[in-house]
């Protein structure tokens, strides 16, 4: 596919923003491990924390493809910022937009879109990663609402968030059918950030463990319907995978940019030509998969397979491309003088977060067979 003129223009706008505003601090946040708070504020000021939501809800009124392009361009210069943007929009805001009541949408979407609140998504737990239905956090219905107890792990942006979508089980015996999603405001008593992760990469993004101790959520904090949580978070993750694909695409593009910068004034050997051309080809293939998944979303067609394609492929390309760029450039590329050593660390998360590559393959295999049966 070819981007429309307006999408291309938006891409150029984001590129300029990313290079001028985000890029200068990318190395420092990686070294110091400080949250990319300034970048988040800059994104908010320009409306980039609410790209795909309607204007009457405080968003930019653009489509999901524009949002994917935005995440790509930001991640291209600073993956920590790109991930923060992606998690906020796809995981922290989308489920409210899609499954929330009118009141919930009016209350939260404008604040999230304008960046008054940062949004987070709490699904993963110490014992429930790929097996998301195995969550142990419980929600007990009481006269005043729901009492939530348990913990969450690897939650992006949660120490800076205003809201966290929390998945909890109301009846462990029911398995996935016993799960409800809630909109939890982080100022709720009983909501606690237990610890901050120290990570391989993405040091400028916030990743924390949450503890809920008798956290009382009001009755109107249920997202969608009670016991419908599994469906909600699965669909949320599908959309999230487009933005993780875009995040990985941005990093892969950064690896390619680094190679281009390095080789543009040098005579290339044939092996170097092979490295550069292979990376360029794979990056473009990843781009097509990411953009096409976004187009399915914009057409309101549920496309689990395309989302999984985009995320699986782009994440593997990002890790691989960073590795190839390092090999082609040599020792300078494993120092902090170039961004690609950072990308090599950052990109590995793409193969793990929001569904590992193994889970993507399970989804794709299932969907491919399902489609085959449907067309027979």
């Amino acid at each position: 596919m070819i981007l429309s003129e307006s999408h291309q223009q938006f891409k150029r706008e984001l590129r300029r923003f990313a290079v001028e505003v985000v890029a200068p601090g990318a190395g420092a946040c990686d070294v110091g491990g400080a949250f990319v708070e300034g970048n988040v504020r800059a994104l908010a000021e320009r409306g980039y924390l609410g790209i795909p939501w309607p204007k009457d809800l405080g968003g930019m009124g653009l489509d999901y493809l524009s949002y994917a392009v935005g995440v790509e361009e930001v991640s291209r210069v600073c993956a920590s910022t790109g991930l923060t943007m992606a998690a906020h929009t796809s995981l922290g805001t989308y489920p409210i937009y899609k499954f929330g009541t009118k009141a919930q949408k009016e209350k939260y979407i404008p604040r999230l879109a304008r960046g008054e609140y940062l949004g987070a998504f709490g699904l993963t737990e110490p014992n429930a990663g790929s097996d998301a239905a195995g969550i142990e956090t419980t929600a007990r219905k009481t006269g005043q609402g729901y009492l939530v107890n348990g913990s969450k792990r690897f939650i992006t942006s949660a120490s800076y968030a205003g809201t966290v979508i929390v998945a909890a089980s109301m009846d462990r015996k029911l398995g996935r059918k016993g799960i409800t999603c809630f909109i939890a405001e982080t100022r709720t008593p009983g909501f606690k950030v237990a610890s901050k992760e120290r990570k391989l990469g993405l040091s400028g993004s916030d990743t924390v463990e949450l503890a809920f101790e008798e956290m009382l959520l009001p009755p109107d904090s249920v997202l969608g319907k009670e016991l419908d949580g599994y469906r909600i978070f699965m669909e949320t993750l599908d959309g999230g995978r487009i933005s993780i694909g875009a995040f990985c695409l941005g990093m892969a593009q950064c690896a390619l940019d680094t190679m281009v910068e390095w080789f543009k004034d040098r005579n290339m050997t044939q092996l170097e030509q092979k490295a550069l051309s292979d990376v360029a080809t794979q990056v473009e293939a990843a781009r097509q998969l990411v953009y096409s998944a976004a187009q399915f979303k914009d057409a309101d067609i549920r496309a689990d397979k395309q989302c999984a394609f985009a995320k699986l492929f782009a994440s593997e390309v990002a890790v691989w491309a960073a590795g190839v760029a390092i090999d082609a450039i040599g020792p300078l590329a494993v120092t902090d003088r170039m961004p690609v050593a950072r990308v090599y660390r950052d990109a590995k998360l793409g193969e793990i977060g929001e569904g590992t590559s193994e889970v993507m393959r399970m989804i794709i295999a299932k969907e491919v067979l399902k489609e085959a049966k449907e067309t027979l």
Binding site: T124, G129, R153, K199, E272, V334, I352
Partner: protein, 380 residues
């Protein structure tokens, strides 16, 4: 080829493994995080003879064969990749060229002190504008009376910030191409020698990787290593040997990642059972183990070629370095994957293995260079 280990080799493995497990593994994460050179570990390793593996007994060395050295480096790297390369550089890039090309006087002067670790060694070949193409080096050495005067700089020097003795290559005849390069033994205290930028590396961070600066650095003529004009031969011959140890280092890191992944996959339960029961995880473990063993066999084979007195083993050493480094990158990436979100944190060592492994594809010849070396040996 005899695939059994000698008593010495078995002894070296047991000793190195015990030391590495007890002394290196507990501090590996910390020295990596801080980028701190493991001085204390180096002292202890010297006491065990691990710094004098290539040095003959007459110079107070342990005088082991190259397979023993590879085994020792593999075991050390299994606990700490940084310490693995520090050991490899000292033994094979710094001490060994003196053993092989040094004069009696040089051997007497340097080897006993290198054996005890009083002098730590490093190797200065790479320059800002001469990486994969060392013949393009710009550092010059001009003879003035009884000394050479060196000017220029060397970059990405492992042990650079911690060593006292440097094997340095400089151009003594600008017109003679690779035949105009000469090797020198440079001491840290020589006038005009200083350290430049310390590199902040992706992995192998505790290796004092540093730039060396020569500003009218004065080196006595008796510190010429090998013959004048034969430095390129010394450099390449040394790299042929040391690549075996880099291969061993990569095998050690891959083995560590495999070990940790196996243990974790048995403990971690998802969907009601340990993840090692899932076929995708099993396939990963099988591939990781197969590649690691194949890499180890290539390394041992190359070491065996050297030990059996073969003079040309550049093909074997390039093959083992290439394959082992790529294996380490592959195996460590899969190990992080098996650990999932936990693997991405600093709570487990696999993220460090992942960073360390990638660096191994770069130094002592990139993978691209190894492939070219191998192809040249094939094409004659």
């Amino acid at each position: 080829m005899d695939l059994s280990y000698s008593n010495d080799q078995t002894m070296v493995r047991n000793m190195a493994r015990e030391f590495a497990t007890k002394e290196l593994e507990p501090i590996a994460a910390e020295v990596d995080e801080k980028g701190e050179f493991p001085h204390e570990s180096i002292k202890k390793m010297a006491e065990l003879g691990l710094l004098s593996m290539t040095i003959p007994e007459q110079y107070d060395g342990a005088g082991f064969d190259f397979l023993s050295l590879a085994i020792a480096i593999e075991e050390i790297s299994r606990a700490c990749g940084s310490t693995g390369v520090v050991t490899a550089v000292h033994n094979s890039l710094a001490a060994w060229p003196i053993v092989n090309w040094g004069t009696d006087g040089q051997k007497q002067q340097y080897l006993p002190k290198m054996a005890t670790g009083e002098l730590l060694g490093a190797f200065g070949l790479t320059e800002p504008n001469a990486g994969s193409d060392p013949a393009a080096m710009e550092t010059t050495a001009v003879l003035k009376g009884d000394r050479y005067v060196l000017n220029g700089s060397k970059r990405f020097i492992t042990n650079g910030g911690a060593a006292q003795v440097f094997i340095v290559f400089a151009r003594t005849d600008p017109a003679a191409g690779t035949k105009g390069i000469t090797g020198f033994i440079v001491e840290r205290g020589f006038k005009g020698f200083s350290l430049g930028k310390h590199e902040n590396l992706l992995g192998l961070r505790a290796t004092a990787n540093c730039e060396l600066v020569f500003d009218d650095c004065e080196v006595p003529v008796e510190n010429v290593l090998g013959k004048v004009g034969e430095g390129f031969k010394v450099a390449l011959g040394t790299l042929d040997v040391s690549r075996i140890d880099i291969g061993a280092q990569a095998v050690g890191i891959a083995q560590a990642a495999l070990d940790k992944a196996i243990t974790y996959s048995k403990e971690r339960k998802q969907f009601g059972r340990p993840i090692c029961e899932f076929e995708m995880i099993q396939a990963k473990l099988a591939d990781m183990a197969t590649h690691t063993l194949a890499a180890r066999m290539l390394v041992y084979y190359a070491a065996h070629q050297k030990d059996s007195g073969k003079t040309r083993f550049n093909q074997e050493s390039a093959m083992c370095k290439l394959f082992a480094a790529e294996t380490a990158t592959f195996v460590t990436r899969e190990a992080v994957q098996i650990f999932g979100g936990y693997g991405y944190t600093k709570d487990y060592p696999v993220e460090r293995y992942y960073r360390d492994a990638k660096c191994m594809e770069i130094y002592e010849g990139t993978s691209e260079i190894q492939r070219i070396v191998i192809a040249r040996t094939l094409l004659g």
